[in-house]
């Protein structure tokens, strides 16, 4: 008799653990032949709020790690993903991608992680400055992480899109809570397994699955979230985010583009967007 496969249960990734949604609800992902691929967690406001607590708790210590260390951790994530390449190619193919496209997406994802691992100890030199003020002061400006970032991950390029958004966030010392691609959320949760075995501290990245419609307003309005990144071009949703984020003056970044496979989808400006500039004055006259 043929061996029966064991199917994977897809759950959320919160605080370094894989809990089910507290709401107990689910939604189904099917392939082109309308066959069930997975029952996904239909996450709730409560799941999101729990995730923010974890993200906040670990943010300071993540920010205080050396840039070198954060770079090494990201590089480790890339190494782990390289080792599981075939798994991710298969998983992307299950959801309808051709082998060629799936392979390309996974390889670009690994390279993108390495790209940002490299930026860890370099972006500061590119963006910070010494300011030649006219008075007797040594004056300089540098970047500091903004804090906790909520992310509506792109629907296109479920793996590459998510990595392109979160790598620059975390390399800059932020932590985040992400809504995985609504269309193809499975691969996001599988990526959580990679993060979980890569020395990324628990809570630095939290990944939920669910519906934008339900969660968007909470992602935008939560008071303990410092910035929100939205990937998509739904003007109604964009307006809602801009409106709700006003309450605590959340920084908002909208990525409307969909070509995440393109080189223009990586640059140090993706890091800089989740940074605040701090200027320091110090007298230099005795």
């Amino acid at each position: 008799m043929a061996r029966i496969n064991v199917l994977k249960t897809y759950k959320n990734f919160i605080g370094g653990k894989f809990p089910r949604t507290e709401s107990g609800r689910y939604f189904q992902i099917k392939n082109g032949n309308n066959e069930l691929l997975a029952n996904m967690c239909l996450s709730s406001r409560k799941d999101f709020r729990n995730a923010v607590v974890f993200a906040r708790k670990v943010q300071k210590s993540w920010q205080n790690k050396s840039s070198l260390n954060r770079g090494q951790v990201l590089y480790r994530v890339a190494e782990m993903l390289e080792g599981r390449k075939s798994q991710f190619i298969e998983e992307l193919m299950m959801t309808g991608l051709s082998k060629l496209h799936a392979k390309n997406e996974v390889e670009l994802s690994i390279d993108r992680l390495i790209y940002y691992a490299g930026w860890s100890d370099k972006f500061q030199q590119v963006f910070s400055s010494v300011n030649p003020v006219a008075s007797n002061h040594f004056n300089f400006s540098l970047l500091q992480s903004v804090g906790v970032v909520s992310v509506i991950s792109p629907n296109e390029y479920s793996l590459l899109g998510m990595i392109s958004v979160i790598a620059p966030i975390i390399v800059g010392g932020n932590t985040c809570v992400i809504l995985s691609s609504e269309k193809n959320p499975m691969v996001g949760i599988s990526f959580a397994e990679v993060l979980n075995t890569s020395d990324v501290p628990a809570g630095v990245v939290n990944i939920l699955t669910g519906k934008r419609k339900e969660l968007l307003s909470h992602f935008a309005s939560h008071k303990d979230v410092n910035a929100i990144i939205y990937c998509g071009d739904n003007n109604q949703e964009i307006k809602e985010i801009q409106h709700l984020s006003s309450e605590n003056l959340k920084r908002v970044k909208i990525y409307k583009h969909k070509n995440w496979d393109h080189n223009s989808s990586q640059s140090p400006f993706f890091i800089e967007t989740c940074q605040e500039l701090k200027t320091i004055w110090h007298p230099n006259k005795v």
């Binding site: 070198l68 770079g71 090494q72 590089y75 390495i114 490299g118 930026w119 100890d121 030199q125 005795v286």
Partner: protein, 484 residues
Amino acid sequence: MSNIDLNKIWNYTTANESKDHILLKEKYDLFINGKFVKSNSRKYFNSVNPATDEIIAKISEANKEDIDLAVKAANSAFKSWSKLKAKERAKYIFRIARMIQERAKEFAVIESMDGGKPIRESRDIDIPLAANHFFYYAGWADKLEYAFPNTSLEPIGVAGQIIPWNFPLLMAAWKIAPAIACGNTVVLKPAETTSLTALKLAEIIQESGLPKGVVNIVTGGGKTGSEIVNHPNIDKIAFTGSTKVGKLIKRSIAGTHKKLTLELGGKGANIIFADAAIDQAVEGIINAIFFNQGHVCCAGSRLFVQESISEIVIEKLKERMSSLIIGDPLDKNTDIGAINSKEQLATIKKYINIGMEEGGEIYQKKCIISETGNWCPPTLFLNVSQSHTIVQEEIFGPVLAIQTFRTIDEVIEKANNTPYGLSAGVWTEKGSKIFKLTKELNAGVVWANTYNKFDPTSPFGGVKESGIGREGGLHGLKAYLKFK
């Protein structure tokens, strides 16, 4: 309160790092075009453990023909290496970084055996920093346009790199990593007395799959070095070593197309003000001059103590020196290891004699020194002034010349009164004083309330006769790029 002399009560038991896990061959050949090849000279010289006088390995001496082969290999590798996609270039360099990390302990032990530095330093500083350097510059390979926006940049070509014996692997990393990250190829010559870790690095480079000819490592002495400097198909010379040789190199390549960076000698001023945290400063002064037996181009070899605290500082320095452990570099307790070579020991002794002849008051830590190997006890000179030879010239050993000062302007004047300008140190709890001093001191690197700190992200290099150009950081890329 009476001072308790801990050394009288307790002695440290030896805690030797084991040598049985390291792999060393009896003979090392040249690494040219991805392979270890015999030198055309057929000559070998000995690499000696400076702590025991034992021969550790035989090293090949490269002659003119060998250098020519290495340059040819580098030239031909340059064509494809410089065209390779930058992000793929980076992956090779990341691999090298990782493989150094994986074999860090082995490298640390060999570094200490070959060069005499305490295992604590090679294990905690030299080797990890070398790996980090590769890691750092690997990341730059595909980001150069952000380092120098609105320019059109290209790699230079073949870089001839000559490095010193004080930080053998680390200097190899400082040279190779930025060069190949920018798309250049390399012919590197380690110092005659410390070739081993560079040759072990060659093994890693081979294992990493780096295309052949991108990095070539040739060994030998000054003559081999001059063959590199004078080879017509080398496009850039990067040299770290003495100011004397640096000037010689600059002269010999005058009129050629070769670009040049030099990282040369120094006579670092370490300045301690009355308002410094004194114990912390004393620790820093000790580290500034005795780190790596004082074989450090940026060593804080001139100490300036504000007059009002000079007595207490000197007393504390002597007290701290009494607890320094001099001995087997492989002992994890050792603070001060062996002097790198007999020649260097002779140089240091020459300067100590000059110091005494010129009227300096010498203080040396009392210690039992082994008959075999090269050793020099930590040494202070008091009652010296700006005109003393040991205040002016670089000794490159554990010898500190101490002077006093009264005012800030006086100490700035004294500190800057040297042909060198590599490094300086400032010790004070007053921030404004730090920034005043860092502004006024003529040095490429100034440490405030710390000393001898190095990081791949931090540019390093000197002004005046301490060198030309910077290594490290974004700025370190510039030496390996052509701007059109």
